[in-house]
Amino acid sequence: MKNNLKVLRAMRDWSQAELAGHLDVSRQAINAIETGKYDPSLPLAFKIARLFEQNIEDIFDDEFAGATNEQK
């Protein structure tokens, strides 16, 4: 899943390891999320959103949002 975690992290001048420390996950997990290779669980996504004071959908790109709207 595409996301702007890397941008948000850069805005705070945090390394991946520092962000990992804030979220209590490994640096590999941050790297995997940033590169879109791993989608975080809902609890972790909420934790990320709270940390950056943003809504989840502002951080993570819901690529299926358009398709869902079309179905409606």
Binding site: S15, A17, E18, A20, G21, L23, D24, V25, S26, Q28, A29, N31, A32, I33, T35, K37, Y38, P40, S41, L44
Partner: protein
């Protein structure tokens, strides 16, 4: 910020648990050496089928059957994060499917006289190797 401070609480626990498991493993190794001085180098190889003393067997069984599961449970529940847990489960999935595929295949080919008799230790090594490779690949490549 020093390296220790950049490690999350979970990562520090993970590191400490790994150190504890290594210390316990070394202690087991030393204990086994002290308990089994009569064992020859050949008979004491962990994965051989050579006879070992009952006491050595009991110590190994306690290590493998008690300490390892407890350590693995704590490690999985408390130590790793969700990304590594997912990588671990993916490794287990591939290993289990390889097991399901390899064991009957080998057995059938053995019955047909095309392969030697299935060997549990080789199957065990294949299963664990696939699990470990996939787990580490998924963890470090995403």
């Amino acid at each position: 910020m020093n390296k220790n401070k950049t490690l999350s609480k979970r990562q520090r626990f993970n590191r400490n648990l790994m150190i504890a498991m290594i210390v316990i493993s070394v202690a087991f190794g030393i204990a086994l050496n002290m308990l089994g001085p009569q064992e020859t180098d050949i008979s004491f190889r962990g994965l051989s089928n050579q006879a070992i003393s009952p006491l050595t067997a009991i110590v190994l069984a306690i290590g493998w059957g008690v300490f390892l599961p407890i350590g693995a449970y704590i490690w999985y529940q408390k130590s790793i994060d969700e990304q590594e847990a997912a990588a671990y489960r993916t490794g287990a999935f591939f290993a289990a499917n390889a097991y399901i595929g390899v064991v009957p295949l080998w057995w059938i080919l053995w019955r047909g006289g095309l392969l030697p008799e299935p060997n549990g230790i080789i199957i065990f090594i294949i299963f664990n190797s696939i699990w470990l490779i996939i787990w580490l690949w998924k963890k470090y490549s995403g």
